[in-house]
Symmetry: C2
Subunit: 236 residues, 2 copies
DNA sequence: TGCTCTACGTGACCACCGTCACGGCATTTC
DNA sequence: GAAATGCCGTGACGGTGGTCACGTAGAGCA
């Protein structure tokens, strides 16, 4: 099915071509049938809020493509990005499982296809398929590790430069990077929100790193010119 | 069975008197039989390290009583406490499930009875008992929420006073608190490690709060004298 | 050409808090 | 009793980085 969003809509999980590469969807056919029959598919534009901090959970969202940022904010309007979810992740599981309100907001960074399951259907699905329960546990495990890495970054770093260096190294070892070159699809303000700092400071420190010949920046692409020095700065 | 540790050792999960109150152990009899037959019981003194950051996982640890602190540290020796586990929690699940090395250290704060299961037995146990898989997911959910709360505290707070206020409010709403009075079983240094600060600053700020008549401190007991003011300071 | 909007760059200021240093008090150990 | 040890209290100092203010660059549009 064509869509005005620039990607194909895949309504049928059973013959989804990328299912095998997806953490949550890669299950055996029995479970898959149930997944397919209890989910509903939607497509939303960038900026859509799947759920909002403080809302009671309605269900869980499976990200079929695109990215979503999960963040919380303080009364004063300060925002911190908890993680950026990638295709194949389930969002809102913690709220559904604990039956408590969402403690983060999920916002689509691009236009995305999203599959939705009500809490009831989701509980039924994982209650009846051990495989699905284990996939869910796997998702939660990854979330935990990511959150702990976040705490490590925020709590153990002495300076913003250190946090930023850690973040850059994380991206450099990610999937989309090659030979120390990678695209940064974030604004300085968003980067600041990931490391608990401010837009100005991020701008300044990136400038410093460039001046010190540790990195180079061409548009949205970052090139690591001195990865060892960067690792030192990250406190490793 | 008596022990030199000041509590009764409970080797048999099936007739454990407090099992019903424990998050992980409160399962039906079929699962319980399997849990009982595949775990082994030990008692360790305070300060014991159940596992260490960087170690390959051997299995999971069920905390029967007492508390354990989970922390990571940087090369420079700076420590941050990720959470304090209470009885009925399973420790080391993330490493076991993801089959990657532990990314935290688990240290007993008191002498504790601990039940151990090898990774293999644990995987078998949760693979064969959906109930156990869901308990595990529940544990992971709680861990995630705790970690996210940690990120919120570290990342959204502008000042150490704010973080400390949040921490105090968290304790005040905990189980062991009543009418704004609660015991703090931590040293200033440990408190500092929870909020990513230093021993001196914690001492100073607690002193300030006392001077400003927001709290009062009698030995290890904290009394909230002005909870509303404290909430303001916490940025709520 | 002029207007608007968003993102980035940069300078000045100063509060907060990390670091170092020392002293006081309680408990333990010989 | 003396010494040692662990935890807490407090003063002085200096740097980091948050805040405010304003300038620049590029894109979109009439």
């Amino acid at each position: 099915m064509r869509s005005p969003y620039g990607f194909e809509i895949q309504e049928n999980c059973i013959n989804c071509p990328v299912r095998g590469q997806r953490q949550f969807c890669n299950v055996s056919s029995a479970a898959l049938e149930q997944l397919q029959s209890s989910k509903s598919t939607s497509v939303y534009p960038a900026g859509t809020l799947l759920y909002i901090e403080g809302q009671a959970p309605r269900g869980v969202f499976i990200l079929c493509n695109g990215r979503a940022k999960l963040y919380t904010s303080s009364r004063q309007g300060k925002v911190i990005i908890l993680k950026v979810a990638v295709p194949g992740e389930v969002l809102g599981v913690e709220a559904a499982l604990s039956n408590r309100e969402h403690d983060e907001t999920a916002e689509l960074l691009e236009s995305c296809q999203v599959n939705f399951m009500t809490t009831k259907d989701f509980m039924k699905y994982i209650g009846e398929n051990t495989e699905a329960a284990l996939k869910t546990a796997g998702q939660l495990t990854a979330d935990c590790r990511a959150a702990q890495e976040g705490i490590r970054c925020l709590g153990l770093s002495g300076s913003v430069e250190e946090k930023l260096a850690r973040l850059l190294l994380g991206w450099a070892s990610g999937a989309a990077a090659q030979q120390g070159r990678f695209k940064v699809p974030y604004k300085h303000e968003e980067i600041a929100q990931m490391i608990g700092s401010t837009r100005e400071t991020v701008t300044r420190i990136l400038g410093n790193l460039k001046r010190k010949n540790v990195i180079d920046i061409k548009g949205a692409t970052v090139i690591l010119k001195d990865p060892d020095r960067l690792k030192e700065l990250a406190g490793a």
